[in-house]
Symmetry: C2
Subunit: 195 residues, 2 copies
DNA sequence: CATGTTCTAGAACGTCAAGCCTAGAATACT
DNA sequence: AGTATTCTAGGCTTGACGTTCTAGAACATG
């Protein structure tokens, strides 16, 4: 019937995701995407539609990947609170890697302030993380790992906000060590809230 | 000698700042800036140079304004710790106003990841806030408002990161109440660290 | 082998941006 | 009054981008 795709669509999407992470929606053009991904423009259009849809696909993929990865950390941890510690440490620690390719969620919010589709995807991701964190904190509280007066809901939210803050500051050159130290501080605050 | 400027340069810069806050560097064009500011393109070029320099000027002004305003809160407060509380409450609370025009610092970092000049301005602003917060926390500690084991340096940094996180999440529609609640949580955490 | 779809490479199109330039009106100084 | 500078209004140039189109090569299926 037809010549099959000679490229792995998922792999290309992954590549596009990386480029969007580093440069943002407007920071990379279709011609450059085509060149860097090793695929001609036409194939990009055939496979993903237009630029906006390619971006949304990449954003969706990023979201799924991030949420999945982080919820897995929660599941695999020996205890709920330890899971939270690992999630926060991993997430925020990633921001400290220098030079960081950046958090696509952060750039997506800034680059697509007026695109409801993009914002909806981001919202879903944020909610997914918040739900996971909250559930783990509730469990931790039930197990006595967390003080009874602490609010899992509020704690989850503040942890998330802080991590996104790291995601912003991580884009400043040389911020790696500072952020790494801040991650330790955040974890210490979490311990304070627990004890 | 010459016809004087018929517009107030500072006022126009303020207007440009607002537009850049809402839409980002690439989100608003020179023709639209000209129209919205009520000044013809040529006058913009005469007064501010090219678009990049106009943006940098707006960013500088934003930084000065923000730092100044926030350090003033520290000075006017009845006690150092209360100053910190007010600064954080004011800053993060601003993000909760809906719809928020957004924090120019956050968008500047994302929009200008490869412009050292822009990043340097932002860095200066972040450092200014950090220095002020740290100094206030040191004073608070000397007065016994803050536990002796607490680290003013680390506390200052984590507060800043969290507030920038609010600045990101504030761009999601409907996030106002959630952020407002998170501000309260953050202040409660500060109290925990103090007591 | 024939067919039809997808591939590649690259040209072409329309749009819009940034920046520059012109021309004429306005206004402070000498 | 004359002069020089800034103003406004708008057109022009150049270039980039997103998108579509053309033309021909590759290849799985009938």
């Amino acid at each position: 019937m037809a010549r099959p795709r000679t490229f792995d669509e998922a792999l290309v999407l992954e590549g596009a995701m990386e480029l969007f992470r580093e440069r943002g929606l407007h920071g990379i053009s279709i011609p450059e995407l085509s060149e860097r991904l090793g695929i001609c423009k036409q194939s990009l259009y055939n496979a993903f539609g237009d630029k906006r849809r390619l971006y949304l696909s990449a954003l969706r993929r990023w979201g799924e990947q991030q949420v999945e990865e982080k919820l897995a950390l929660l599941d695999q941890a020996p205890s709920p609170l330890e899971g939270v510690r690992r999630l926060v440490g991993e997430w925020a620690g990633l921001a400290a890697i220098c030079p960081s390719p950046g958090c696509l969620t952060v750039t997506a919010i800034v680059d697509n302030a007026d695109d409801p589709d993009a914002l909806a995807i981001v919202e879903g991701q944020v909610e997914g993380l918040e739900r996971g964190l909250r559930a783990a904190l509730v469990k931790a509280q039930a197990l006595g790992e967390l003080r009874a007066e602490a609010s899992p809901e509020r704690l989850a939210r503040i942890l998330i906000s802080t991590c996104y803050g790291f995601g912003v500051l991580a884009r400043l050159p040389g911020s790696g060590p500072v952020i790494e130290d801040s991650v330790a501080t955040l974890l210490a605050l979490l311990d304070d809230a627990a004890a």
